[in-house]
């Protein structure tokens, strides 16, 4: 999985590309944890390039959301492909993440 980091409207956006699964879930958790150490806890995770997510990938997002939340921040999700959105809904995690159609809208929502 590739992670590209950029700023949109003053908010850190992590653009993911590839598969978010057990072999890559630690990468996103570590990246978000590093940002949190620098008090950057309002983040957008853009998943337009993610065509597969499993329970480990979901778990890494849940853990990251909990960490950000403890520090007064939030993680917002953008640009889910249909099959990935279906897994968020199946596991009901769409109830804890705010999900947006694109990262600009997500960034502006902070």
């Amino acid at each position: 999985m590739e992670i590209v980091q950029e700023q949109v409207n003053g908010v850190d956006v992590l653009r993911l590309e590839g598969r978010l699964d057990a072999s890559s879930s630690k990468e996103i958790k570590d990246r978000i944890s590093d940002l949190a150490k620098n008090k950057r806890v309002n983040l957008v995770v853009d998943m337009a390039g993610i065509n597969f997510i499993d329970s480990s990938g979901l778990g890494s997002l849940v853990a990251s959301l909990r960490s950000a939340n403890k520090l007064g921040g939030d993680i917002r999700i953008a640009s889910l492909q249909d099959q990935v959105r279906a897994i968020f809904e199946l596991t009901r995690l769409h109830r804890i993440f705010e999900i947006f159609d694109d990262s600009l809208t997500a960034a502006k929502s902070f």
Binding site: F52, R66, A86, T91, I96
Partner: protein, 146 residues
């Protein structure tokens, strides 16, 4: 109709799980499964293979995970077998839709893991786990076009 069958064997490395997942997705699509159904089947196979690597083999490489995939006109059957430590069968009974229940206002109450088996049970029509003579097999069945 004779089933289309294929057996895939990978080493017990998490980075190799995607190889099996992608192949299963392609086989489903070639058999006429809609995109979302093929993705669902891929997800279940990835979850089962990951369980073998993480729990049966404790993340140690150098062991085999076998995936036997058969697709009929109206059903698909996938078996995932390992020779590692068997799973407690109670775990399979316990997991279900209740694994997805949580209080959205209390993030700390939401577990990081433990969703894999519940996802499989939600997507597949039936699951079965056996452990005999050192071989553990997790078998999943799904009716097609249902």
């Amino acid at each position: 109709m004779k089933p289309k069958e294929i057996k895939l064997i990978i080493d017990s490395k998490l980075e190799d799980v995607a190889l099996v997942g992608r192949e299963v997705n392609k086989l489903c699509s070639a058999a006429g499964c809609p995109l979302l159904e093929a993705s669902d089947v891929e997800l279940c196979v990835v979850e089962a293979v990951t369980n073998s690597i993480e729990h049966a083999y404790k993340l140690k490489a150098g062991h085999k995970v076998e995936v036997a995939f058969a697709i009929y006109s109206d059903e698909l059957i996938v078996g995932v077998c390992d020779t590692g430590e068997p799973m407690d069968p109670k775990l399979l009974e316990e997991k279900g839709p209740s694994s997805f229940l949580f209080d959205p206002d209390n993030l700390e109450s939401i577990p990081e893991g433990g969703r894999g088996l519940a996802i499989i049970k939600e997507i597949m029509d039936s699951v079965n786990y056996t452990s005999k003579e050192g071989k553990n097999c997790f078998t999943m069945k799904k009716k097609l076009g249902a």
